[in-house]
């Protein structure tokens, strides 16, 4: 068999350097086998400290009640739900990379999908905390589940978007976890078979479920991945759509709009990619993975950021236009008096600057490929996207129909902020543990694309390119006849 999968030389290599299969394994697995660096320890302990502060903040909220927070009438959602929507949004990029880009056959996803999926799972774990603890009496959280009970049985309201959220977030978490772990099995088996110490062999032996690499199993594994990707794609779109329903089905001015689902989904992908950038730039530097997470990968993600950022910008302008066009005085007041101007005007303009104006710099190729600039932008975008949710929640709630129920200026308490910081602690604690004990790059998937997209192998494509067209077509045809090779046309 000759290499019949043709990959144009014009495309950037996905794996830099002269690598063999063994080298790929070595590069990715050695971080698990080596002792963590000092930087890892510092990062890990800082995360654990944040997590502990978060646990204490939540402890106060549970013991003394919601009064520990400054959420008030009418700003009942405040920081808490802002953080919830922000974290859920961040999770979306992982699924986009692992599922949607798989369906679109985007080869560059292989370098970043594993870590991005892990990010999704940890972000959804963080997101889930907020609505649960916002219930106040958290020990009653299971009341949201439809189980036979002694109250009638009284069932939850299936027509309520808040209940849809319970189903959406829990399904999203479960499916993401299954997708991620089924992809991990072969790589955990790789770690197991290389393990030198007994404990490592035992633990990775349990974790890899007895994976052997059988051809039949690979065939089923690929089919499974494809179907899970097909299921995750509408799922990820549905999750943020349902989150946006929490707002859109209400009659609060500024929330009651049909544009919310697409606007929220685009925003989610936008902020998620920014978080992926933040993590990947650190990861490739600390773990020395520049050959696998290349400038090409970073550029591709920056392109997604500029696209989704522009969609979000369009949505902001559409909202303003619709407020004016609807001729509803309440809508107009919310947008033109209390969002753009008013006591919270600063947050609106911060959101506009971070989300709409600054990402436009990514139209420049030079800036897209600049690591430091990308890192700064990724943080700017995440600040902007946090403020987007803050603007939506706070500036719609603080002044609505009745001036008598207008609220005073809202400031969070230290315990409200502490809860948010605590989820950062949870997120990064999980991420540090993941980067130490799991293969952060999908080893098998990299090997699968290595011979067509690796830097040293791409050179072989020139012989193919220089071939006579008839001869080339003939060879392809022969292989197809043999049935031994799947011919991939690009």
């Amino acid at each position: 068999m000759s290499v019949t999968k043709y990959e144009s030389q014009l495309r950037e290599p996905l794996v830099n350097g002269d690598k063999t299969y063994g080298q790929v394994t070595q590069d990715i697995v050695h971080t698990i086998e080596a002792k963590p660096t000092r930087l890892w320890y510092i990062g890990f302990y800082v995360s654990v400290a944040l997590l502990l502060f978060g646990v204490y903040s939540v402890y106060r909220e549970v013991v003394y009640g919601i009064g520990q927070w400054n959420v008030n009438r009418t700003i009942g959602w405040g920081w808490d739900i802002t953080n919830f929507v922000w974290w859920v949004g961040i999770g979306h990029a992982g699924t986009l990379i692992s599922a949607i880009l798989l369906l679109f056959r985007q080869g560059w996803r292989t370098g970043v999908n594993r870590a991005a999926e892990a990010m999704t799972i940890f972000a959804v774990m963080c997101a889930g905390q907020f609505p649960i603890f916002h219930m106040g009496r958290v020990w009653m959280a299971f009341f949201t589940l439809p189980y036979p009970n002694t109250r009638g049985p009284l069932w939850p309201n299936f027509n309520s978007p808040l209940l849809w959220d319970v189903f959406a977030i829990s399904t999203y978490f479960t499916v993401s976890l299954l997708f991620w772990y089924s992809g991990l099995l072969p790589d955990l088996a790789t770690v197991r078979d290389r393990a030198k110490t007994k404990l490592r062999k035992h633990l990775y032996g349990i974790a890899s479920f007895g994976w052997s690499g059988s051809t039949k199993h690979w065939q089923r594994h690929e089919s499974l991945s494809l179907v899970l990707a097909g299921l995750s794609t509408p799922l990820v779109l549905s999750v943020h759509t349902i989150v946006s329903f929490d707002f859109a089905t209400s009659v609060v001015p500024g929330w009651h709009t049909t544009i919310f689902p697409p606007y929220f989904v685009a925003g989610a992908i936008f902020s998620g990619f920014a978080m992926v950038q933040t993590l990947m730039l650190i990861l490739r530097k600390v773990m020395n993975l520049q050959d696998y997470i290349t400038l090409g990968h970073i550029e591709a993600m920056n392109k997604v950021i500029v696209l989704t950022g522009s969609i979000v910008g369009c949505a902001y302008l559409t909202e303003l236009f619709m407020a004016w066009y609807s001729q509803v005085p309440f809508e107009q007041d919310i947008f033109f008096k209390y969002r753009i101007a008013g006591p919270y005007g600063w947050s609106y303009w911060l959101m506009m600057t971070c989300n709409v104006i600054s990402p436009q710099l990514f139209w420049s190729r030079k800036l897209r490929r600049n690591v430091l600039f990308t890192f700064i932008m990724s943080i700017v975008v995440n600040i902007g996207m946090w403020f987007e949710r803050f603007v939506i929640i706070v500036s719609s709630l603080y002044r609505d129909y009745l001036p008598s129920s207008w609220s005073i200026y809202y400031r969070p308490t230290i315990w409200e902020v502490g809860f948010y910081l605590g989820t950062f602690g949870l997120f990064f604690t999980c991420f540090f543990l993941f980067s130490k004990y799991f293969p952060v790059i999908a080893i098998a998937e990299i090997k699968y694309v290595l011979k067509t997209t690796g830097e040293s192998y791409k050179n072989d494509m020139s012989t193919l390119e220089n071939k006579n067209v008839d001869e080339f077509a003939h060879e392809m045809h022969d292989h197809h006849e043999e049935g031994s090779v799947k011919v991939v046309h690009h």
Binding site: G22, W164, I206, F209, T215, H221, V227, S238, S484
Partner: protein, 194 residues
């Protein structure tokens, strides 16, 4: 569950592997399996394996999810405890779409993964014989089962001639068992070599 004798040939390059598979098959040998570090497209066809139908399981589980969601919500809101919510109809199908969809996806995904684990015998604490530790790293490991009439010597020569880097014979359990990867277990008191 039985000990069997296998001839194992290891290949370093898939370019060598494919013609070798064709030749070994032509010579009439039966593959036990080929272990590869990553999915090699076309290898299943070359070995003569049929397509998987695991996606059908996914579809069936998905249908179970859809049916459960719709029938359950209908029963709750029209029979068990009808609630007047702002005078809206009790049978509020459009409002149930989100939950129906989520439950469909959940059942399809969970059901399919469990099916996958079941048919591939994958679970924590499951152990299988490792024919070559580098099969999950950078080697393509072809395993051929020795029948009563198989000439081991001839097979070894054939594998060497088609480009195998390393050829050996192993007596091993063909299935799975509950075990630990850090320990070698004695599975049989009296090995009955087939």
């Amino acid at each position: 569950m039985a000990l069997k004798k296998f001839v194992v040939g290891c290949f370093e390059d898939e370019k060598v592997l494919f013609p070798a598979v064709a030749k070994v098959r032509k010579a009439g040998y039966k593959f036990h399996d080929i272990y590869t570090p990553f999915p090699v497209h076309g290898l299943d066809k070359a070995m003569g394996l049929r397509d998987t139908s695991i996606h059908t399981a996914g579809f069936l589980f998905g249908m179970i999810g859809t049916t459960t969601a719709v029938t359950f919500m209908t029963w709750v809101f029209t029979k068990d405890w009808p609630v007047n919510i702002g005078g809206k109809p009790n049978f509020a199908l459009p409002a149930w779409i989100p939950i129906t969809f989520e439950l469909t996806v959940l059942c399809a995904a969970v059901g399919m993964v469990l099916t996958f684990c079941y048919i591939c015998q994958l679970a924590p604490f499951v152990k299988k014989h490792t024919f070559h530790p580098r099969a999950t790293d950078d080697l393509f490991v072809m395993v051929i089962e020795c029948g009563e009439k198989t000439d081991e010597q001839e097979l070894t020569t054939l594998l060497n001639s088609v480009g195998a880097q390393e050829v050996n014979t192993q007596v091993a359990e063909e299935g799975w068992w509950i075990g630990r990867y850090d320990q070698e277990q004695e599975l049989y008191k009296e090995p009955n070599i087939a």
